[in-house]
């Protein structure tokens, strides 16, 4: 390893760290409105589910694909999906503002809006 390599690695890590810190700062919430999970398919908003009401719903996507969204205890998760990688199913439940579950194969995105601030760990995004 050359000296330049180490400088490069440190620079990249510092920039990434700053961005993580910044997103946590600018992610201040407008509390007051109730928290909702916004489901977007292919960039088009599909539905909104308030987090204070327990619900389980199957979202049908073209070609027999589906994601099952489940809201309980103020948290939102994907409990089942037709996608091959199942990354969205393994994703931890989300509840804080700006947290996102993405299912790339089904082009489905779930984002929390108006949620409480994420005061635990940014790494759970």
């Amino acid at each position: 390893m050359k000296k330049n390599d180490i400088i490069l690695i440190i620079c990249i890590l510092v920039v990434a760290g700053l961005v993580i810190a910044m997103t946590r700062f600018t992610n201040q919430t407008k509390n007051g409105d109730e928290a909702v999970a916004v489901v977007t398919i292919d960039g088009i908003e599909y539905a909104r589910y308030p987090l204070d009401k327990d619900v389980t719903e199957t979202i049908e996507i073209s070609d027999n694909n589906y994601n099952v969204i489940s809201i309980h205890d103020g948290q939102c998760e994907i409990s089942d999906a037709s996608c091959p990688d199942q990354i969205c199913v393994y994703h931890n439940p989300i509840e804080n503002n700006g947290q996102t579950i993405v299912c790339l194969p089904n082009r489905l995105v779930v984002t929390i809006e108006n949620g409480s601030d994420n005061d635990i760990d940014g790494a759970t995004y």
Binding site: D42, I87, N92, T100, V102, Y125
Partner: protein, 166 residues
């Protein structure tokens, strides 16, 4: 392209293909889409430093298409193609500036692979919220880039001259 070149390129492609399969069997489930160890990048790195830029580019291209058709779907192929092409471009530039060793080039490759993937995913899904993943993916890309860079440096130093076909 002489026979030796064809043979070596075939060998490298097969190796990259197998490593992609190994990676496919051992997914890194940390809840971030697109996070991978990048084992196949090891082959691309070694190729870049032994059989030349043009051949390494061909290798990268053929690998993405083969792996996409075999293990993935069209969407996954588009993401990895974007990542592979952007990362290859950056690696070539980084290599040409001669500022960095193989490790630095590999780190840049790993980082920009993830940047390319996220940019295309943002375009395809038409959502900006994916940008939240980017810093974490950059950190992961850096770490895997260091590992891949050090290993490919060792390989190149030991067996690199065997592939001297330029």
């Amino acid at each position: 392209m002489n026979t030796k070149k064809v043979a070596y390129l075939g060998l490298f492609i097969a190796l990259a293909f197998v490593l992609s399969y190994v990676e496919f069997l051992l997914p890194l489930s940390i809840g971030i889409p697109g996070a991978k160890i990048g084992l196949a990048n090891l082959v691309v790195m070694v190729a870049l430093y032994t059989i030349g830029n043009k051949n390494a580019f061909l290798l990268s291209l053929v690998r993405v298409i083969l792996v996409g058709l075999t293990f993935g779907n069209l969407a996954m192929m588009i993401y990895s193609m974007a990542g592979a092409m952007l990362s290859f471009l950056v690696m070539i530039i980084a290599k040409r500036t001669k500022l960095f060793s193989i490790t630095g080039v590999s780190v840049l490759g790993g980082v920009f692979h993830n940047v390319g993937q996220i940019l295309v995913a943002m375009l395809v899904l038409d959502t900006a919220s994916l940008i939240y993943y980017l810093p974490f993916l950059i950190v992961i890309g850096t770490i895997s880039g260091i590992v891949i860079g050090v290993i490919s440096g060792m390989i190149t130093a030991r067996v690199g001259r065997l592939f001297d076909i330029k």
